[in-house]
C-alpha cells in the first residue's frame, strides 16, 4: 500500500476554514490535479468503563474507533500508543454489545470530509475537520501510490507538498521513523489521522499555530 502523509494546515490569518480550503484546492487545480469524488474519515472515542478499572488505580484507556471511506468495508480500532486492529464493518455493532466495558464519548466524535484529487500518481485529500457543528481545522492527506516503502519516497512527497502547500509543508511523520523498510499499511494512515484529530481537539476554536 502506498506511502502517505497526513498533516494539518493552519487556517490563514483573517480567513475562514472554508476560504483556506478553497485556496488549497485552487492551487491543486492549477497544478493540473483532477477531482475524483469525495472522502470521509471519522473517529469516535471510547472510555474504558469505570467498573473495569482495577483497584490498583490503573487509569482508563482511550480507544478510538475510526472509519475511512477509502476502505468502506473496514473498521479500525486503536489505542493511543498501542496496536491497531483492522476489523470488519460489523465491529461497530460489537462495540454496542460491549457497552459494559467501553463507553462512547459521543461529544468527542470528530471527522474530516472533503474532496479527492488525482495528480499523476499522487492522490490528495483536502478535508475540513469538524467536531459537532463547528469546523475546527483542515487536514491534508497526500499519497504517492506506486511506492510501498514509506521511507523511500518521503523526499518526493515533500517536494510535491511544497508545490501547493508552500510553507505549511509538514515534517516527516513519526510513523515513518518506526517503519524503516517495511511495507506501509492502512493502519499507519489511521494512526496519523488519530494523532491529527487529537491535536485539533486540544486546540482552541480558531487554530492559529501548529504544523505537524
Amino acid at each position: 500500500l502506498p506511502g502517505r502523509s497526513v498533516s494539518q494546515v493552519p487556517v490563514a490569518e483573517g480567513k475562514s476554514v472554508q476560504q483556506t480550503v478553497e485556496l488549497l484546492t485552487r492551487k491543486l487545480e492549477l497544478l493540473g490535479a483532477e477531482k475524483q469524488g469525495t472522502f470521509c474519515v471519522d473517529c469516535e472515542t471510547y472510555h474504558t468503563a469505570a467498573s473495569t478499572i482495577s483497584s490498583q488505580g490503573q487509569t482508563g484507556k482511550l480507544m478510538y474507533v475510526m472509519h475511512n471511506s477509502e476502505y468502506p468495508l473496514s473498521c479500525f480500532a486503536l489505542f493511543e500508543n498501542g496496536p491497531c486492529l483492522i476489523a470488519d464493518a460489523n465491529f461497530d455493532v460489537l462495540m454496542v454489545k460491549l457497552k459494559g466495558f467501553f463507553q462512547n464519548a459521543k461529544a468527542n466524535k470528530i471527522e474530516s470530509r472533503g474532496t479527492r484529487y488525482q495528480y499523476c500518481d499522487f492522490l490528495v485529500k483536502v478535508g475540513t475537520v469538524t467536531m459537532g457543528p463547528s469546523a475546527r481545522g483542515i487536514s491534508v492527506e497526500v499519497e504517492y501510490c506506486p511506492c510501498v516503502i514509506a521511507n523511500d519516497c518521503w523526499n518526493l512527497l515533500m517536494e510535491f507538498m511544497q508545490s501547493f502547500m508552500g510553507n505549511h509543508t509538514p515534517g516527516i511523520p513519526s510513523v515513518f521513523s518506526t517503519k524503516h523498510d517495511s511495507i506501509y499499511s492502512p493502519a499507519d494512515t489511521m494512526v496519523q489521522y488519530m494523532e491529527l484529530f487529537n491535536k485539533i481537539r486540544k486546540q482552541q476554536q480558531v487554530p492559529v499555530a501548529g504544523i505537524r
Binding site: 500500500l1 495528480y119 499523476c120 511506492c147 510501498v148 523511500d152 510535491f160 508545490s163
Partner: protein
C-alpha cells in the same frame, strides 16, 4: 415478349469487380452494408500495404538486427552453417539466467516456460518494482514493468504478459526498458547483453529516492527521474536527459 426480352441487355461480362460488384446491387443498404464495408476494407488494406512498403524502405537503412541471422540474403548466399545464437538449448538459457539471478542480492529472477520454449522471467527488484521479460532463446523480446504491489498474474494463475501498469511512472519505465533492450546489442554474445540489461535494470532500486542529476529535483510533471543513462546509470528525468 420475345422481342422485349432480346432488348434487355446482357450483364456486362467485362465487369471488373466480378462477384463483389454484384453486392453493390443489394437495395437494402441499411441492414446489410456489405458493399461499402467491403470497399473500405479494400482501401484500408491497400493503404496498409503502401505504408508498410515505405516503412520497410526506411527501416532497412538502419541495420537493427539483434540476431546473427541473415534474413534478407537469398537462399544461395546463405551460409551453410546455421547461426547458432537463435537455437540454444533451454538448459543453457536456464543456466545463464540463474547465474544472473545470483549476481545481485536485491534482484530475484524466476524463470518459467508456460508457452513453449520461449522463457518468461519475473524479475523482482527489492520492494520497488516487478518486471516481466519475454525472451526468444537468449534474446529479450519484450518487457513490462509494474509496481511491487500490482498483480502480475492473470485470473487463471498464469503470468500476465500483456496488461500495462496502472501507474504512470511504471508505464514510463516500461518505455525506457524497451529502449534499453534495443540499445544493448551484441549478436554473437547474447548472454553479455542480458547481463548488461539486468545491470541497467538494477539501477532502478533507487527509483523513488534518487534526485535527477541534471535539475536536482525529485519531481518533474509529477514523475520521479525515470531515465537511467546506459553507460553511467545516472538518474535523469525523461525531460532532462540529453
Amino acid at each position: 415478349l420475345e422481342r422485349l426480352s432480346n432488348l434487355v441487355g446482357k450483364p456486362s461480362e467485362n465487369h471488373p469487380l466480378h462477384n463483389s460488384g454484384l453486392l453493390s446491387l443489394d437495395p437494402v443498404q441499411d441492414k446489410t452494408p456489405l458493399y461499402s464495408q467491403l470497399l473500405q476494407a479494400y482501401k484500408w488494406s491497400n493503404k496498409l500495404q503502401y505504408h508498410a512498403g515505405l516503412a520497410s524502405g526506411l527501416l532497412n537503412q538502419q541495420s537493427l538486427k539483434r540476431s546473427a541471422n541473415q534474413m534478407g540474403v537469398s537462399a544461395k548466399r546463405r551460409p551453410k552453417a546455421q547461426p547458432t545464437t537463435l537455437v540454444l538449448p533451454p538448459q543453457y538459457v536456464d543456466d545463464v539466467i540463474s547465474r544472473i539471478d545470483r549476481m545481485f542480492p536485491e534482484m530475484s529472477i524466476q524463470l518459467s516456460r508456460p508457452n513453449g520454449t520461449s522463457a518468461m522471467l519475473l524479475v523482482t527488484l527489492g520492494k520497488v518494482l516487478k518486471v516481466i521479460v519475454v525472451m526468444r532463446s537468449l534474446f529479450i523480446d519484450r518487457t513490462i514493468v509494474k509496481g511491487y504491489n500490482e498483480n502480475v498474474y492473470t485470473e487463471d494463475g498464469k503470468l500476465d504478459i500483456w496488461s500495462k501498469s496502472n501507474y504512470q511512472v511504471f508505464q514510463k519505465v516500461t518505455d525506457h526498458a524497451t529502449t534499453a533492450l534495443l540499445h544493448y546489442q551484441l549478436p554473437q554474445m547474447p548472454d553479455v547483453v542480458v547481463r548488461s540489461f539486468m545491470t541497467w535494470l538494477r539501477s532502478y532500486i533507487k527509483l523513488f529516492q534518487a534526485p535527477c542529476q541534471r535539475c536536482g529535483k525529485f519531481l518533474q510533471e509529477g514523475l520521479p527521474p525515470t531515465w537511467r543513462d546506459f553507460r553511467t546509470l545516472e538518474a535523469f528525468h525523461d525531460t532532462c536527459r540529453q
